[in-house]
Amino acid sequence: MDYSFWNIAPIILFPLGAFVINAFVGCKLYRKGDFISVGAIFASFLYALRIFKDVIVDQHSKDFYVHKVFTWFDLSVGDFPFKIDMGFYIDSMTATMLLMVTGVATLIHLFSTFYMAGDAKYGKFFVFLSLFTSAMLALVLSDNLLSIFIFWELMGFCSYSLIGFYVEKEAAGNASIKAFMTTRVGDVLFLLGILAIYNIVGSISIVDIYSALAMGSFEGQSVIGVSALTFIAVCLFGGTIGKSAQFPLQVWLPDAMMGPTPCSALIHAATMVAAGVYLSLRMYPVMVAGGITDFIALIGVITAFGAATIALIQTDIKAVLAFSTISQLGYMVMGIGVGAYNPSFMHLITHAVFKACLFLAAGSVIHSLHDHHTHGHVQEMPRMGGLRKKMPYTFLAMLCCTLAISGVPLFSGFVSKDRILGDALYFGMVHPHKWMMIVPVLGFITAGLTAFYMFRMLFLTFFGAPRDEEVYNHCHKEHFSFTQNFPLLLLSLFTLGVVYSGSLTGLGKINIPVVGKEWFSTLITMPKVEDFTQREKVKMMDSHLPEKFETSHYHVHEASEMTHEEHVLHKAHSIGAITSIIIAFLGIFFAYLMYISKGLNPAKWESAFSCWNKALKERYYFDHFYEKILIGKGLHGFNNALAWFDLNVYDRYVIDGWEIIAKKIYLGLSWFDMKIVDAIVDLSGTIIRFFNVTLRTMQTGRIQFYFVVLFLALSGYMLLTRI
């Protein structure tokens, strides 16, 4: 397929077009224009499919990439280069991301037509949804950091507007501002990173950054004392922390659940939060060169473990899912940290799929449970229970996804999480600092916790007796409806591990011939920086230029004897796999004990770990810390200090002082004017009067007298000039 502009651009332009149409004429259209949004995203899904088929299935070469560029603006003056190019960068990772985003988005659009059916601002929802999807797709396709940053901000805006969709709820407004602000902190760091890169490399296109890295143009450079690479790596990772709600800045994601569930599904589960991880994946070579992989790993594992622990005691179904998202994102970041490049990307894809499915299922559950008193939807798990009979399809989807996320073999979760944990273990063993073993240990514990709280949620909602009779009776039996159940089931279909690993168990033990070899792991590998030095950019519009893509043969040393690391790696993986399976089932068993067979009494546990429990409820006091201390004491204090300075020092001395000086100058000037200028004026007056008197008598009025004067003057002149 030829990668001309009009084969790639429609992916972005369809949702953008839908956004524009809906935004302006949406409300007048039939069904408020939802069919336009769905159709648009489906069209871009088809295009993405076409690219996916070409890149992954046809080319199937690890090094294939397409890089089409056009100059956005060129303000370079003299030898100062200030030229920003925009363009597309498509390689296997982009193709998969495109497919995942468009696929999930299409299904979510479909589901939201069901979920938002009765809503007053029905059309408006789709407007923001389309805008968001186009921004996300553009980010994935873009070839340089600046366009990534632009669409990054656009997504931030869409998430802000969608979180604050139910404007009437005051809490929703606060949550949207909170989300926007916290991500903004991350964005500032991200922008700093971009500027630093531009300052050193002179261009911010990914290809240029890689070639700069290869040529080592970063060495020796330093920004504010810190070595350039580490500074840039930290800043870029700061962006990821902000966007993917990592350790310090994860407070906004739980509150983001105020928005409608499909939006949470799409934005706060599958795509937007994944963007942070996608950025780190893209900039992985910079991170490695920056030497902050350990730091990343630590941040990842802390986030994962912290979020998992908080999820244990959550009662709201969406809160549980929110914290599980944070924890899984923590896993991905840890994967990057420990060097599991491919597994972390795979986990990103698989997590996007089953988390979206979980959220949609939760959405359909919430949608069907009505509370007569508040006329709102019930989200509290204690009021649910026993919905299995009422909502069989939702239950089925929920079950598959919960199995996937808790890492049960045969499911996609296990495939990706196990590889991450394996690499983490290997990382722990190989790492010079022994205490780094904590990373795999916490990783495995978090896996267990995940399994426990997911199944806790499952049992509380679908199993056991219905705790709230009235709600339960009112929930009508669910019959298969295309918009509600089809997306769920399709997504749950994709949670099967075989889809990604090509082997039944996911460990490559039992290969299934039809799917072919491990397509995922072979295609997406860490970008080798050296290859990028000689690849030039191809101008966007002049399609007659053949794209340059080398298909360097990835020399896979087949069955040569295993080097020492690989031996250790293999050993680590086998241990990792076994332990993770054990822990997963352990978690499930505990959940079963506690909630189905009531062997364990949750109340007793709570009382045992009361202080721990309270902390969990307060979400480790992060919110408290931010509101009270960081802002209350820090910012307000700083603000007051500034105000004081402005009032007392600046106004008093600078403004008023100037007034005094002005007065002095004025006095001097007036004196000068009086004494000197006036004197001169009078002088000229007297001179003129003097001349007037003397010259007047000359005019005798007799012509001959004038002749005489004339003649004398002339002759005098003649004589003088001659002598």
């Binding site: 005798t700 001959q704 004589l719 001659r722």
Partner: protein
């Protein structure tokens, strides 16, 4: 009035011509000087006009000595035929010639310079001395020790006509405009006052 024959092609011997010319020069110079003197002394305007006539004829004679025959004839035609008669008409039209004597001088001591005949003679002599002194002072004489060459007496009217029509065409046209202006202007100014 002496009639001098100026041959067109043939040139007399140098001697003849030169002597002719000197005679002519002396006579016309004499005529001019005498008329100038008379002009200075006469009180009667009519006499002044006749003396002016004589002076101008003298100048015409001088032109002849300078081989400017066209100029001499033009001089006679324009001045004698035109200007002097005009002057005479003007004199008659402005009340004859008895205005001269009264001088309304405010500065009596300057009167001699502007009034009586004797001062004129004195003034004239003084100026002559002044001229001689100035000439010697400025060494006018030496500058052009010009040898008197017997220039063949080519008639000038032909070449003058050509010059007028080629190099000085602009001046020629300008003069025509000037004359037109003078013509109309004079006629207009001298119209009798409508009392």
């Amino acid at each position: 009035m002496l009639v001098v024959a100026i041959e067109k092609e043939r040139t007399f011997e140098k001697v003849a011509i030169v002597s002719f010319l000197t005679i002519l020069f002396i006579l016309s110079a004499l005529l001019m000087l005498v008329s100038c003197l008379a002009l200075l002394l006469t009180k009667n305007i009519m006499h002044a006009c006749t003396f002016l006539l004589a002076a101008l004829l003298g100048v015409a004679g001088l032109y002849l000595t300078l081989h400017a025959d066209t100029l001499a004839v033009t001089q006679v035609l324009v001045y004698v035929g035109g200007v002097v008669i005009l002057m005479l008409f003007a004199v008659v039209l402005t009340g004859g010639q008895d205005q001269e004597s009264i001088t309304k001088e405010k500065f009596p001591h300057l009167a001699p310079l502007f009034g009586s005949k004797s001062t004129f003679l004195k003034a004239f002599l003084v100026s002559m001395i002044f001229f001689v002194a100035a000439a010697s002072l400025l060494r006018l004489g030496e500058k052009e020790i010009v040898h008197v060459v017997a220039v063949n007496y080519a008639p000038t009217i032909q070449s003058l006509g050509q010059l007028l029509m080629t190099d000085y065409l602009f001046a020629f046209e300008l003069v025509s405009v000037l004359l037109l202006g003078a013509l109309i202007g004079a006629a207009l100014i001298a119209r009798p006052m409508k009392k």
